[in-house]
């Protein structure tokens, strides 16, 4: 007898666009921004400009994907920038010592997740706020960088150089780097993981309400530790990509990157309290930051402080529109 009345109101209302609305709005705004660039600067319409955005932000993208996991559970990971730098430093230092590239890759890719795992454990078992734990992780990793070497270490290894300078492109001369392909692979894997596996769904559940998730019999602790490990892994991959990108390890590289990454994830529609957001949104978030940067370089008339003010202003305009249009359509 109750079923009949329950069926009425919402049953046939299409729900899909509503859930994806923030992402769609972001996408639309991104296109508008790109359009503005094209209309203002002639060379902006080159395909390579778009490809460059990917080439230049590949590592950021990978790290942001890891951060998406963490933020989806309602946590935060401030250590990413330092872990990226540490991974690059470790790789450069080991390569300089003459270790084979394959071994260096393995070692470098283990350090990040190991640190992430430890941080996850501290957060879960000792119930310390993620912000503090990962801040300590950030100090630690940055400290390790200067500890390893206080000057930048160049990488001359053949494999690294090949990865760095290989151009995959069309006859017209447009190309992407291998890093971009790796970044795309990471994005796809993450999207699959989040949408189609138990682990991914548990990430959303923990972010929605971790207490409920616990009572629903979900492995909350394991998931929480896992997301920091994933974020550590993504940072490590990001670090490797960055070392491909710059062919060196520098102790002060990627300072403040965590804020860019968090900004990208949030602009992509994720909510910091957890439970809602998509990897695709994160990709858009990274692109937004990249396009803003490109617009500013293309302009080339801003001095240092105006650069900052304009970045802030563009960010503001973007977020405001995103928010207002989002509300409007809801």
């Amino acid at each position: 007898m109750s079923g009949s009345s329950l069926a009425t109101a919402r049953a046939w209302r299409p729900t899909l666009p509503r859930r994806h609305l923030p992402v769609l709005v972001t996408l639309a705004l991104l296109l508008v921004m790109y359009g503005i660039g094209v209309s203002q600067y002639r060379a902006f319409s080159n395909v390579q400009v778009v490809l460059n955005v990917f080439i230049d932000n590949g590592f950021l993208l990978v790290v942001a994907v890891g951060m998406t996991f963490v933020i989806l559970t309602g946590g935060i990971d401030l250590s990413v920038g330092s872990v990226v730098a540490m991974t690059a430093m470790v790789s450069a230092a080991l390569l300089q010592d003459g270790l084979p590239a394959a071994l260096v890759l393995v070692i470098a890719l283990l350090i990040g997740p190991a640190l992430g795992f430890l941080m996850g454990c501290a957060i879960h078992f000792f119930d310390i706020q993620p912000f503090i734990v990962t801040l300590a992780g950030m100090f630690f990793a940055r400290g390790m960088c200067t500890f390893i070497s206080d000057a930048s270490i160049p990488i001359t290894d053949g494999f690294w150089t090949a990865m760095s300078q290989k151009r995959i492109g069309d006859p017209a001369g447009n190309f992407v780097s291998i890093s971009v392909l790796i970044a795309f692979a990471v994005v796809l894997a993450a999207a699959y993981l989040l949408a189609y596996t138990r682990f991914g769904r548990t990430v959303y559940a923990v972010g929605g309400n971790s207490h409920s998730a616990l009572l629903m019999g979900l492995p909350v602790g394991r998931t929480r530790i896992a997301v920091y490990t994933v974020s550590g892994l993504c940072s490590a991959i990001g670090g490797i990509l960055l070392s491909f990108y710059t062919l060196s390890g520098a102790p002060l590289i990627a300072v403040g990157m965590e804020l860019d990454v968090i900004a990208a994830v949030v602009i992509g529609g994720a909510v910091l309290t957890g439970g809602s957001g998509y990897v695709f949104g994160t990709v858009l978030g990274v692109l937004v930051l990249g396009v803003i940067q490109t617009l500013i370089t293309f302009d080339g008339s801003l001095n240092s402080w105006w650069t900052r003010i304009v970045i802030g202003g563009l960010l503001f305009a973007f977020i405001l529109l995103q928010r207002l249009i989002g509300i409007r359509f809801k």
């Binding site: 460059n52 230049d56 960088c145 300072v255 001095n303």
Partner: protein, 304 residues
């Protein structure tokens, strides 16, 4: 800005220079930027200026975008010395000559850039150290030195430390008793100096990696009841106006100059490079050192 002005090679006569600056992290850097902008305007060169906010990533992005915009010459002050090969190769493939300013890169392939215009940080440190060795030659007992380093891991900090250490090795009496990073800022210099003074009762010399830290340390020294310039010799690097003033006032003892006024030299080079002329691979900025007396004379016509 709105119109696309870069990127018509061989079109009209104006030449376009893409310049990627490190950031605006200090007064020195700002003076450097100003010098370049003014010189470009004067030389009739169209400048595409980009501020990388101390990030190498941003500089690489900027260079890529300069390539897309087909500027005539690219110049930049690298944030760090390594990691430029890939993007420089792209510039080379696009046929755009590159000039380094202020700081070298460590590429093995020297054909990736035309020339490097800038000062030598190691030399600055060495000059500072040499002056100290000369002026303490008469000292019999140990001379205790404290060092205020720049941002940990940054190139000027590393190099100035290195040059200074090399120079003072000449006199075994000279000993660095404490060395700590003051992050190139006045506040940092002051805070660190306060602790130096408490931990080491008999400091004879302060070597600061830039004027600002030295200026901060001045305050700490005064507050501790010592007289800067007399009780404690102060040696710094840069020679910005406030530092020169302190030197002229007798509160500093020696400054090794690190001149930011690269603009005119850079524009000249850019034109030559654009015209396809040969230029030397290394050009040093005209720099000097200042003692208190020289500072008094130079102060009235300092530009920054």
């Amino acid at each position: 800005g709105n119109s696309d002005t870069g990127g018509d090679p061989g079109g009209d006569e104006t030449m376009t220079l893409g310049f990627s600056q490190v950031g605006a992290e200090s007064g020195w850097r700002t003076a450097n930027t100003t010098s370049i902008k003014e010189a470009a305007a004067e030389a009739g060169i169209e400048l595409k200026f980009d501020d990388a906010q101390q990030k190498q990533e941003n500089q690489i992005k900027a260079i890529r975008n300069f390539i897309q915009q087909k500027v005539d010459v690219i110049a930049f002050s690298p944030v760090v010395e390594s990691g430029w090969d890939t993007v420089l190769k792209e510039a080379k493939d696009a046929g755009i000559p590159v000039i380094l300013t202020d700081r070298a890169v460590d590429s093995a392939d020297k054909s990736l850039y035309k020339t490097f215009l800038g000062s030598d940080f190691v030399k600055e440190g060495r000059l500072a150290g040499e002056w100290l060795v000369q002026n303490t030659a008469s000292a019999t007992g140990p001379v205790n030195i404290v060092e205020l380093q720049g941002t940990t891991g940054s190139a000027p900090a590393n190099d100035r430390k290195k040059g200074f250490a090399e120079a003072i090795a000449a006199n075994p009496n000279l000993k660095i008793v404490a060395s700590q990073s003051g992050d190139f800022t006045r506040a940092g210099g002051k805070q660190v100096m306060e602790q130096f003074l408490k931990a080491n009762p008999d400091i004879d010399v302060l070597f600061a990696h830039n004027d600002d830290m030295g200026l901060g340390a001045l305050e700490a020294i005064t507050a501790a009841g010592r007289t800067p310039g007399k009780d404690i010799l102060i040696i710094t690097i840069d020679a910005v106006r406030d530092g020169m003033q302190a030197l002229a006032d007798g509160r500093f003892n020696f400054i090794a100059e690190c001149s930011p006024l690269l603009g005119p030299q850079l524009m000249e080079l850019a034109k030559k490079v654009h015209a396809g002329e040969e230029v030397p691979a290394r050009i040093e900025t005209q720099e000097t050192t200042f003692t208190q007396q020289q500072a008094k004379e130079a102060l009235p016509n300092r530009r920054y």
